[in-house]
Symmetry: D3
Subunit: 329 residues, 6 copies
């Protein structure tokens, strides 16, 4: 390689310049002795959880009733340790962050911080999550059943567990929601974002969603933090359950927090592709159906179907001769 | 780590509780001596197929006319084995599943099952897929050509193969469609879902799609199982080609199967971003153009352009003074 | 495995058939002694850049002010080499491609090609990118700040860096845009497509985007090559900033190039979910707000809010008795 | 790279030439549809066995009495499958080999071979090995105890398990010996050669060795196939327990088989570094001690010490002045 | 696979049986909440140390004077953390072990153990090792120089660093010896055993060895714990520097500890292949030469050469006609 | 972790100190823009060569006559590139080294160095090695045959290829010897040292060894650079074929170079365990046999057997009562 050595000699200066920005723009870095939760570790936890929730479909093959107890017991034990470590990191980080924003005084008095044993707080939360997994499985079975009933293209339950991104996103949500309920910061959102990246389905871990939930195709679905979704609800791709506008404080700054900003969907509601339902006061009643592309900011009574007024389409005649097709064979 | 040992002692009980759900909610697990197709193995097959279909763009570099034969021959040989194994697993699983749902009697008489040598059925299907790859390449060349003609931002054919998610999704679809045509369960859908996860484009392997097909950007595109798409068709992101409603049986349950539920797009059709076309009887005629955001449930004659009636927009004046911009510099 | 040996004996013929297509459909392969840029290598570069831009959030933990200089210096040095190699490959490929399309004569006269030392051209471009990273960080800090102000669900800056796909896509865009500005082919687009695959957000590296840019949720967002986006702009999921129609040459072929085809969004504009804004002459004025689902092809004055005319929804009464819910508990 | 393309064009001819030798010198290749045992798989089995035999010292950490059952159960299950597969391969290969050498007639009548289900034979052997592991552990505890008593440098039992190559070689031998006793070809030797490569200690799996065996340092130790070693024996590095001469058949060819060719060491024998003991009739009696460098081809009575007659050393005076030291500081 | 399910059903019983031996033969397992030092982690530390001691020869290439500081700084920082963790584990383990063997009382009173913060003790030891590395390098340069002067086959210093197992073993010894001097248990021996496994050279970390030390070929060399080796010493393969006999206590048990059991070699001594020198009182004087195969248990004055009395060889005549060569061409 | 931050703050000073030694003790580092041959790359080449020389025994399974051509062709092509790169690096390094030692003047005139295209020299050497592999295989078949005839414990040719370290060392030697003959520095020795590390057998690539060579067990064997070994020779473990004394120049420094320093073994010679044969003038005649432990510095006529004069052993009577056995059961 015809490397110009003089150009390479600039690299130390470039490094120095960058390192300076770690003081200037310090919000973009985490330079401290307490590590943050680790993305790869959280991803590993999610993989382990899938092994426990859907044994036989994932990494380990040849599972049968004679060895499943060993395999799951081994995973539960490993999950205990991994979850405790990551939860403790998340708690510790939040704690430091709170202090930092609360008072300036601790900044310069690092050693005076009252020591909190975050792992001691983390462990019972980790165990509690594991304790709840049996119930999560019961709910997921209803979700799988709903997918099978709701999609004529589904050939078997196995195909749904193997191939349906909707179920993958819901599974991660159900676990993340439990962690969210246990007051654990960061990690629930990291988990749902892992699912978002893979499936294009963005469910906030704070949302409340009943059993028998089915999302078909799913790309582009957004379910906001304060949604309430009943039992047996079905969504298609591109559905947004969002906020209508944000409450601001006296200075016009957005109010951070979880006041109800997103809609409620009661039991048995169906929302077709690319519909948008907004607002914390918007309630879609039991068994109501919202048609494709509908944009809805008001409540809908039960057993009602809402579709777009047949849109007026403008049909232009045969395209002019001088506009050839983009593609011809 | 300040582990509380008593908490850890709960883990065996938690494991037992979970293992119980493997009997209760048995649909979520696959505990049997015959392994399912393996997701990582299927992903490996797709990677190998890309190496064969687009040599020089993927993992192996320094390919040239003198060594390409060795490399491809080696891959074809490996693909033969990998495909045979995975197809045999899929066939065996379907077979077991059919029996299970057909009659209860086999359940308790495991040893009496008439033995079917699934690998014997799988191998000729694997070979047939490999045999068809040369033709698949010829079709893909028309797809690449269509992408180049259809996107003014494209600088070269190489850029399309390298960077266009649309082509990636179409490539996987074209292979999966062949497998689907050979009557192989699970694996075609596993393949298209791998592509869906990466590209946000969800093409059912059962759809029929002519050559010269181009999808631009692509996130959110959904193409249903019974679509017919002609030659030289072009879609943009967010386009849904879906079902209007589902046929139900006398008990109100969805009819599973592949009766025509999704639309037909004839040769040369263009569909712009986020348009929705629904229904098995809906035919978009040759060279017709469907505008962005259009919601269409009826047929359109050839050489016609359908756009939204210029929507009435409501313009509200300058925002009130007390609502500052979210962002100011 | 009950392999049928006679079937396996067909594999060499299948290989030969495929190898023939490498001459016939030569556009799908790259068989030459000069390697193309490598996707995995480019992905590795992006990972390294995130380590430099957001130290402490990524792979390497336990970074602190005492060791960060070493770590970053080491990365910058490695990035210099990796970038130089990949940029040189991209330049060389473009060069060959240009010649190939320009004249047929060079084809047969391989040895006569005037030799260009692509690495000599590549190295200063690599160094220039590294030089600009400090400024990129300053811009990114404004982006993070905008996200925090713009999303009430955000609990801290750390959560945004950790979990927000919008920031991930913007970060990759900002680096790719610099490479694009340095005239480097392929690699900028490979980078943004990596981000597109992960986030569902498709930003062309050629677009111009001011600081304080925030994309919430993001799946399905498309930002075209010639967009101009001002300071403090905020987009939601599914927003398309696209082209209205394409200029064609006298033969009706699309004009490739980067004339202005996509809209301009001035400072402080907000565009809500699934809105579509098209056309190179369309200007959305300062602080204007475009509502959810709006389809816009004309300019909007500053400080204006554009929403859909309250759409007429058709409400159908209680569903008939013979149509049971898809799901019941 | 300044690759000379014409040189590269020779590679196919080189390949053809090599492929020809696969017919000519066919003993160096295994080209057949039945795979051989796999070295990496056998190495994986050995690793798993160490995890089971010495839990807590190897890969998996944080093992305790509450989770060890899960971990070991999981390993035993995996070992069952891995052992069955590899043993079946070894048996099948031996079977084919026997036939090949026995009669020429089967060579050309591949399909007429009476089919033997090797996995059916392999599985009970695999299970039998697992069944014996508990006893192997009891013997190994005596080996560890002997090492601790026999080496003044040993600080604790833990150090011996962690750091003593002698124990590693003995452990592998003890397992391989069981497999050898079960009539399994190839695999026992593959295992002991793995240990030989790591420790320099070469114990033939056919040797018989009592409990409480200790090898110190160990590099260069060779223990032949038909050795009998009693209880509580101790060897140092470089000790050979070998054959004196080989029995030949009437044609002067070596007799293959396992007639007693190597010595017997009775209980409590100690053999110091680099001693050589040869011959199937040579018996070193109970508690006898063989000194360093001794070369022994005859029996030694019990409770006897055999050392080299004090060797006559020739001492040459001060080296001449003109021969400087190799090294000076 | 023709798995016999009834055989598999034995596996849980086999597991239980093994788990029982974890209580019976508890010396072979480490089942506790405090992890032991980890072999792979220690191997990683050794790899990092080679990168620091011989930069440019190992994993990282393209090192030059402009980036070496970053690379080494980054490694030193990582080594600090890795060493601290592993040293702390080793110390903690030794502590527990001491207590266990000292008194029974602590066994049942786990929570009453006076807590010792082993990481607090470990960190300064880790830093001290790093501090000494510069001096270790200076000694190693003399070792390389000695190898170059001592082996006529050596072509350059680079070849020695690249290819000489002797240097590899000495390098590991020099680092392990420093750790041993700092009172760290387990880890020094784990390190030298890693080198022993690779090189066949077994140097106890407790031995004292002067600079300019050269071992040629090296397989089978053993250097005991209490050896003293001067400056500029040279050994060949198979040399043992061992103990003559062991001191025993009143009960006849070996005395564990490090009283002088192994010989002293003064400056400039050369010992040829397979010589054996034994005994704590044996002193080989300055510049003495010990010939190949010599067995030495007494001291040798300076500037003396000791060789075997020309051994009487028995020559037997031409082999009988009926004993053909083993091999003929 | 209770990290003491002040201790960590010492690390930059420690780094600086180490970096200083890179100038002081510059022989231990390679800090330059031209990379050295890479150990892992050379190991990869050796692995590939085993795949080509013994197909079916190594990594790739399911090789048969129908696909072996593809696999080998692919490997040969890859080997061409890998060998060319590594050989070029070795040549370039030697070139620089020669200059450095020859004249000081080039040191400061880096840019004036006459440029040598080392890859241009390397490529034909790489191709020549590949060309010779077919012949190497023919020789290796004779080696395998010799092992089978020479070891009564060998059950089949397959076992020898699979399990015999002697064959592994000889195979690597045969390839390395070809490279050595082509004048390639470093790499041949790197290869034989890889084999030395695994097998304990140290064969210098410069030695000349006829076909039908067999080494049994092998640990500790050393074969010097200028040995001549005839056809059908057999060695046992611990055999040294070494130099008697080194020629020194007028200053007493060792003469580097390859004048004959090591013995000659004529056809059919057998050397038993731990024998030592020294000296460039020492010739062991055809079919001679050298017994175990013999120390030989003079020539032996053909068809002669040389054994140790029956050594006088000193037998000491029953050990005193107060010396209990080290081990009792």
């Amino acid at each position: 390689m015809a490397t110009d050595v003089r150009l390479k000699e600039e690299l130390p200066a470039i490094t120095d310049q960058l390192v300076e920005t770690y003081t200037e723009c310090s919000r973009l870095n985490h330079l401290a002795h307490e590590p943050l939760p680790n993305r790869d570790a959280v991803a590993g936890i999610v993989t382990d959880l899938f092994e426990v929730l859907y044994p036989g479909y994932g990494k380990r093959q040849n599972l049968h009733i004679g060895n499943i107890g060993y395999y799951v017991g081994s995973l539960i034990d490993a999950l205990h340790d991994k979850l405790t470590t990551q939860i403790a990191r998340a708690l510790r980080h939040e704690l430091c962050h709170e202090r930092d924003s609360a008072t300036e005084s601790w900044e310069n008095a690092n050693d005076d911080k009252p020591h909190v044993d975050c792992e001691k707080i983390a462990q019972p939360k980790a165990v509690e999550l594991l304790r709840r997994l049996a119930d999560v499985r019961k709910t997921l079975e209803l979700d799988v059943e709903a997918a099978f009933r709701g999609d004529p293209a589904a050939r078997s339950h196995h195909e749904i567990i193997f191939c349906y991104p909707g179920l993958e996103a819901i599974t991660v949500y159900r676990v993340a929601h439990e962690l969210h309920g246990l007051g654990i910061p960061f990690i629930p959102r990291m988990m749902t974002e892992l699912a978002h990246a893979k499936t294009g389905i963005d469910i906030h871990p704070g949302a409340t969603i009943g059993p028998g939930f089915f999302i078909d195709h799913g790309t582009g679905v957004v379910i906001g933090e304060t949604c309430h979704i009943g039992r047996g609800v079905k969504l298609y791709q591109g559905v947004t359950l969002g906020a209508l506008s944000f409450t601001k404080d006296d200075d016009g700054a957005l109010l951070h927090g979880n006041y109800k900003r997103h809609p409620t969907l009661e039991d048995g509601v169906i929302v077709y592709a690319n519909a948008t339902i907004l607002g914390g006061q918007t309630v879609v009643g039991t068994r109501a159906v919202v048609g494709s592309n509908v944009w809805l900011t008001e409540s809908v009574p039960p057993d009602t179907t809402v579709v777009l007024e047949k849109p007026k389409l403008r049909l232009k005649g045969a395209k002019p001769v001088n506009e050839p097709l983009t593609y011809e064979i």
